[in-house]
Symmetry: C2
Subunit: 634 residues, 2 copies
Amino acid sequence: MKNYKLSDNFLGYYQDLILQQVLPYQYQILNDAVPGVEKSHAIENFRIAAKEADGKFYGMVFQDSDVAKWLEAASYALALQPDAALEAQVDEIIRLVGKAQEADGYLDTFFSIKEPEHKWQNLQECHELYCMGHMIEAGVAHYESTGKTTLLSIAEKAADCICARFGKDKTRGVSGHPEIELALMRLYHATGRQAYLDTALYFINERGTEPEYLEEEAKHRGWVHFDMDPSDKEYAQTYAPVRKQEDAVGHAVRAVYLYTGMADAGRTAGDDSLLAACETLWNSITARRMYINSSIGSTGTGEAFTMDYDLPNDTNYSETCASIGLIFFAKQMLDASPLPDSRYADVIERALYNTVLAGMSLDGKNFFYVNPLEANPLYDGKCVTHKHVLSHRPSWYGCACCPPNAARLLTSVSTYLWTVKDTALYANLFAGGRLDLSEEKGITVETVTDYPLDGVIDFRVDTAANTPVSVFGIRIPDWCAMYQITVNGEPVLPEVIHGYARIPLPAGCITQIRLTCTITPQRVFANTSIREDLGCVAIMRGPLLYCIESVDHDGDLRGIFIKKDSPITELPYTRSLLNGIVPLQMEGYRIPPSDALYTYQRPAAEPVTLYAIPYYAWDNRGENEMKVWLHEME
Amino acid sequence: MKNYKLSDNFLGYYQDLILQQVLPYQYQILNDAVPGVEKSHAIENFRIAAKEADGKFYGMVFQDSDVAKWLEAASYALALQPDAALEAQVDEIIRLVGKAQEADGYLDTFFSIKEPEHKWQNLQECHELYCMGHMIEAGVAHYESTGKTTLLSIAEKAADCICARFGKDKTRGVSGHPEIELALMRLYHATGRQAYLDTALYFINERGTEPEYLEEEAKHRGWVHFDMDPSDKEYAQTYAPVRKQEDAVGHAVRAVYLYTGMADAGRTAGDDSLLAACETLWNSITARRMYINSSIGSTGTGEAFTMDYDLPNDTNYSETCASIGLIFFAKQMLDASPLPDSRYADVIERALYNTVLAGMSLDGKNFFYVNPLEANPLYDGKCVTHKHVLSHRPSWYGCACCPPNAARLLTSVSTYLWTVKDTALYANLFAGGRLDLSEEKGITVETVTDYPLDGVIDFRVDTAANTPVSVFGIRIPDWCAMYQITVNGEPVLPEVIHGYARIPLPAGCITQIRLTCTITPQRVFANTSIREDLGCVAIMRGPLLYCIESVDHDGDLRGIFIKKDSPITELPYTRSLLNGIVPLQMEGYRIPPSDALYTYQRPAAEPVTLYAIPYYAWDNRGENEMKVWLHEME
């Protein structure tokens, strides 16, 4: 993070929004200082556990994780720009967390305050390893962002407590919500301590082995919290040992958190069988179980994956957090590949621009947890099959998982932009700013671009005489059929390997590299195994998925069709519209609803003009209908 | 019933199937004489309650109703054709039922055997009024079919027990599952006893009044059976007084059973406000909440109605029993209208041919409870959203509601064919056979037709000199745009009122009337408010809905389109195919699934020939994919 200074027109806006709007608001929420919003009590729980306040635990069993995610995001924010007030808030919370931590490193205010007798007994439902995992992530982030070890020490104490308890020849355990695996891996990378890698591998390898831990635990513990069904072994990915798992199943966030830890541990430990399992699960998601916006989770029941090609557009879950987790997983897969493979970065890009950003209103005040691809206020939140879907972002929940998750992703987005591997530097995503690896690798890169609104990306690469970097790799996005690359103004035809154009880089000079992607609106066609998209097309422009809203169509999307193969016109970039977008105009038809439910006469279709906006910007002009997949008519 | 002798090529087959196959099999089931099938124990429960056997109650709380429905269907069977063996079976069961009835008329083996202390305490969940209602219906049917009063007396004793308990100034009560209302009305019509009408009206008028009975009951009873939510007031249509109910909601079978009782009571009592409520609810169903096959219940959750125009094709419930109940309701609405209105008979016809018949395999051995309009063995019964849907009829359930319901409807189908009103006789449905009203009205009608395979219906009407009938009404089906009527071979242009052509009928002679409906395959278009049918058409031929099955399409319906506006060809009637059908052939396309989940290139469509069969006959050639609504492509 410290090597990259983002100054991007597009993503910069969201970083600023997180810094100026989301993090301060979230801090207020965590401190119960926002009237009219459901009480969080998350900081107060730490205060009570720290014996600095009296009271009872309040909130979900995983309430602590809200604080951890905020600390992580705030740490990244401090890396982006100094902020003494924020730093003081962070330090004060870290002090409280430290005081709430028990002598042996145990850290979970729900159990410390409310259920001290029940510690470690209900890993299926009670999220101790999940909450401590998030605090470990926060500790690593805080250390890497600020150099301070206050939270890292707390994280290490918590991790030591976990490593002392769980493992071969120790107590058996598997977390009902994966997170500890990826967290211990991050802590291992930050500290180099073998116990963290070993315990991460233990949790990964133990999962799904017979007798299945969570089911055994449920038999013996004699108490329940949520009354989850321990025999549902898909929900928490315990249906088989991880290397035998061939389908991405169960709770989508749990799944991708697990796979993230698996990929990191597989790469770090050089465990090819683990990486092969990750590749299988990656393909299960991206080739058969993923929406066009790289969102995942086809059903609200269990917020879960369902089956191959089952991708309903209006009853999906597509949780913002699940796409964030998919980005984590993709990043690990990118890092684990001998040469970077653009299919991982393509998913990162699509999930980031089209789901993570869609999860937040343009003013940073309202958030979707569920991201439907077809929304209708008549049914969403009302019809029994659509109860979990909303067609308007709510402000904030007492239990806030997605907003702080989006905050930590967007403040650390620069870590996804570049990959350094051997003698090559790879540009995965395109965002304006300055990469400074002059100390480590003798190279700096200035990127100037209006991506994703425009397809021109300029890199000014400055190499030292002794740089070991001899190849500059640029991802050619999967959406881009036509592109041109110039080096110092001269067109070149570089070799493209695994989706990355490889440009030889001379040492000791400045090289101007330009990638020009032809960025025009395109129709996207779904595999006909996806029943719900049959006869439909979606529209993308560059990496941005588009949608239509009823506010642009007389308040009614019923009976709307796009004219088959008709041109899609780019309207001029409009700064004042939805924070600056390129609207699209298309020819279409409307068959207005009639009085009859069914008719024997073909109802007449009227020509209409359709207007599409980027999907990430929907529901910013009042609650209304929205559709991504448009039926075609000739 | 005794006035009509059916000799119809089409419906006759199903009546024979019920008589020769379904009723005997069902008798075996009720007597636990079929190995390998989940035990029914229904007769044994009566034996135990009659103190002729020892043992415990077994089965659902409404297990008695299976016996009642069988008795009702068997009674109709005896009216259709004498059968000494069947009559002996019926008499023996009636003897048992009589012996199981308590001294005060109370009749419910679950409570008599198992929960005598809890009688009448849990009307929400425990179905006493529902089970007794079905036995009352059986008593009326048995009396009307055989002239015997054995079961009618039991029914009257049960009804007297109910009337003595419930009513104004008596104990308050409303049944969680409507049925008693319509049953008391039938008993009133059979006996003329005012108490039955009064109590039916009491139950109808009490429903949904404040404080809502079922919720009150749940507060005070202190025990539960199914643990249903008493605050869900839509489920059992208790959300408002019935005259204030504007939408058909909740459990679909419950709804239409209630509306049936309301319409009968409204007509009988001359209560216009009740009939107006029925009309509102009828429109709610048929104008906004009904599938093209006149099935109802858009969701498996609560087997229920959802919201206007919410009609998903692959996750619907569309219970066979609900369409049977809709037929009951339609018949009452038809009878309640001053002049018959064909829109009621249109729904009866469509539900009968396309849902009730679809509920049964062609050999009468397997039954659908749920009737999807799109089936896929990959997902049905497996995917969490499709658990309730099956793409293959199962043999029989221990709790058997739909098969005996279909049996009683099909054995009594002749009661839906004709309406006599004032000086007119109306043909509602078209089936071969002989109507003999010579004693009552001085008229007989011989009908000869191959309907619904053919559109020619011949009526030979024989009137006595003193017949009061001076008008012969024939329904012009809603699907029929072109028709011709001849009287004694001469074309006529009769007045059509409310969908019935009215032909003046001379007395004292024979009149030959022929209706010729032009019966060709037609495309049907859904209202564009139905999101799931957008861009699709369905195919009907006459009253028969068609579908395509994967067995006719290389085992795969993925990516199948019908060519827009292309001709639909009738293939020759094939006796050996699916018990005799007219297959349809159509031009279409297939876009085969590709390896990629999404592509930027339009995938190629290949021309294919499509074959459609009547929907009622699907899933008779092995489990496979099926679709009613077909996407169009030009």
